[in-house]
């Protein structure tokens, strides 16, 4: 404050010298140091990310040159004859994530509706607290539950039931072998993804302005009709955002999936067949891939996964921002 008083009283000081003087003044007073100090740390995050992307790109030179775009359409994964293709893993990743979303989105949005609209505030807060704890459970623990509890249940009860009732659909056609299959992996993923959908959808629903609800109720709608026909469509984009966010998370899940999916490189229409995902194959084969082409093909799979999650995360953020911008918060 005193410095600005000083410069006002001596207006004739030439500009460049004045700038240097004020820089030095700020330096001595510590602000410039603080700025640079914090800048360095912020920049290091930027640099680390750049380094990561560079490493991923640089270490995939061999397969990119050898296979090119065919990498994404080849079905074989043959370390003996050095022929690598990503298609079975992309298929497995997409299918398990799709199953996860098919199960968790109705469940999650339903629960979010209950928590945001229909439940009294106290119960809603308590239940949300517990559900958000589910999001903190590590992946390997879901894997342990999957292997010892879920796989036998799927094999003994759920899959025979599905085969008996919906067996005419191609996805439920094959023999039920072991319970280690795409369907089980999808179910485990859905449990892992549900808390995110609930949490984000609930916030997005709460952000819908009160007057929308009041207007609908004033016109004689029931609570359910208000919710389903007015509030949810208003928050639709944000809910889609939560779905994309969950999809991004489901794609990268490694441990729980590799413990229950059967780890087989094959594309099958039947959900009772084992499969493989990108994250699972990297975890299983990375430490032992002999030969540069093999290793770099695995890294290229990692790069593909990374790009997919970037795109999904980006779309999700935009969607959620749009919804939160449209309405004022109820809180």
């Amino acid at each position: 404050m005193s410095s600005s008083v000083a410069t006002v009283s001596i207006p004739t000081r030439p500009a460049p010298v004045g700038r240097v003087r004020s820089f030095l003044r700020r330096l001595r007073s510590g602000d410039e140091i603080a700025h640079m100090f914090t800048f360095v740390f912020a920049a290091s995050i930027f640099l680390i990310t750049v380094l990561l992307v560079y490493e991923l790109y640089h270490n995939t030179a061999l397969p990119r040159h050898k296979f090119g775009w065919n990498f994404f359409t080849t079905q074989t994964w043959d370390p003996v004859f050095d022929n690598f293709g990503a298609l079975p893993f992309i298929y497995g990743t997409v299918v398990t994530s799709a199953i996860a979303l098919l199960i968790s989105v109705p469940l999650g949005v339903g629960a979010a509706i209950f928590l945001a609209e229909l439940a009294p505030r106290g119960i809603s807060d308590a239940l949300t607290f517990i559900i958000e704890l589910l999001a903190a459970v590590p992946s390997v623990i879901f894997g342990v539950i999957g292997v010892f509890v879920l796989v036998p249940i799927m094999r003994k009860y759920v899959e025979p039931f599905l085969k008996a009732t919906l067996g005419s659909l191609p996805i439920f056609k094959g023999p039920i072998i072991s319970g280690y299959d795409l369907l089980t992996a999808g179910v485990v993923l859905s449990i892992m993804v549900v808390p995110f959908i609930i949490s984000v959808s609930r916030e997005v629903l709460l952000a819908v302005p009160v007057d929308q609800r009041e207007a609908a109720l004033a016109l004689g709608a029931t609570r359910w009709e208000t919710t389903w026909k007015v509030v949810v469509p208003y928050a639709r984009i944000g809910i889609f955002g939560s779905v994309f966010l969950s999809m991004a998370r489901a794609l990268g899940e490694t441990m729980a999936v590799t413990m229950v999916i059967g780890n087989v490189v094959k594309i099958s229409t039947s959900l009772f067949m084992p499969g493989y995902t990108i994250a699972a194959v990297i975890a299983n084969e990375f430490t032992e891939a002999t030969g540069d082409l093999y290793t770099q093909s695995l890294i290229e799979l990692g790069l593909v996964l990374f790009l997919l999650t970037i795109i999904l995360n980006g779309m999700a953020r935009i969607m959620i921002l749009v919804t939160q911008g449209r309405g004022t918060s109820q809180e």
């Binding site: 003996v80 059967g262 780890n263 493989y276 032992e288 891939a289």
Partner: protein
Amino acid sequence: MQRIFKSYAGYVLSLLVLGAGLILVTRPSLTAPAPTPDNLQITAAGATFPFPIYSKWFDEYHKMHGDIEINYQSIGSGGGIRQVLAGTVDFGASDGPMSDEQLAQAKVKILHFPTVLGAVVPTVNIPGVSAELNFTPEALAGIYLGKITKWNDPALTGPNPKAKLPADEIVVVHRADGSGTTYIWTDFLSKASDEWKNKVGKGTSVNWPVGLGGKGNEGVTGQIKQTPNSIGYIELIYAVQNNMPYGRVKNSSGAFIKADLDAVTAAAAGAAKDMPADFRVSITNAPGKTAYPVSSFTWLLVPAKIDNAAKKKVITDFLHWMMTDGQKFCNNLAYAELPKPIVAKELKAISLIQ
């Protein structure tokens, strides 16, 4: 006074926790029986096939030399080969010998040292069937090719007239990771079936026509145990330790042999004479009336040049102990000891390590 105390309590607490953390992690001896300050840790990785005997050996060796810890991680033979080539472990282990191309990739020459003899057995989990089944090599190839799909297929009921094999689908289990056990199994199947040899071939990691993938011998055993109507190939000790029934395999003389120490030793009997200098040899389908056809050596992969003098001393000393006194632990864990002529050759080969 109270207000100052309250606002600084958090800082003090965090500092205390930080301090405790620092102390704990830099001196783990506080929580553990203190090792001597200059203990040496050697890192090794590789095959799961001999993991039970290796983990016993390294434990015994540590008991004898308290300041030496050999950390062996069983990540599969493929992993052992890869990590020893990359130099991230001090030595590796594999039941599939390194190929010429892999050896050419090494910056330092890699030496193979056979450690034990083991057997790969076809293990089954068929509810209601506890008898030992007889398998012909052709039947095993057919199962793994996906051509024999049910347990009551004639190729299986033929050699097993008394077993009540169900009409259920066979669940095939194989390795998901790079595996020397896979190498031994596919080497045997390639000798058993030309179709297998041309279609799939042999290696530590192959393009399996059918089946589920388990990680390591441990994972495959776990999967067979949990899955009814399954069959998988695992090292003998894993079946024994987990009380799982395993089948007899027909050898080149036509007899159905159950894997045990004598049968495996018989398979190696002929190998001693023709053992190449680098010890890389396959003894699957070995001649001999009592020989078990899916037997194999397993090797430690040691770099021929070790820069760290202390590590070199430990590794050579361990190799020496392993081939002589260490062999007495083998039989308890269902591995066969190395034939004496081979041990003699190996002891001489240790001097190749610079």
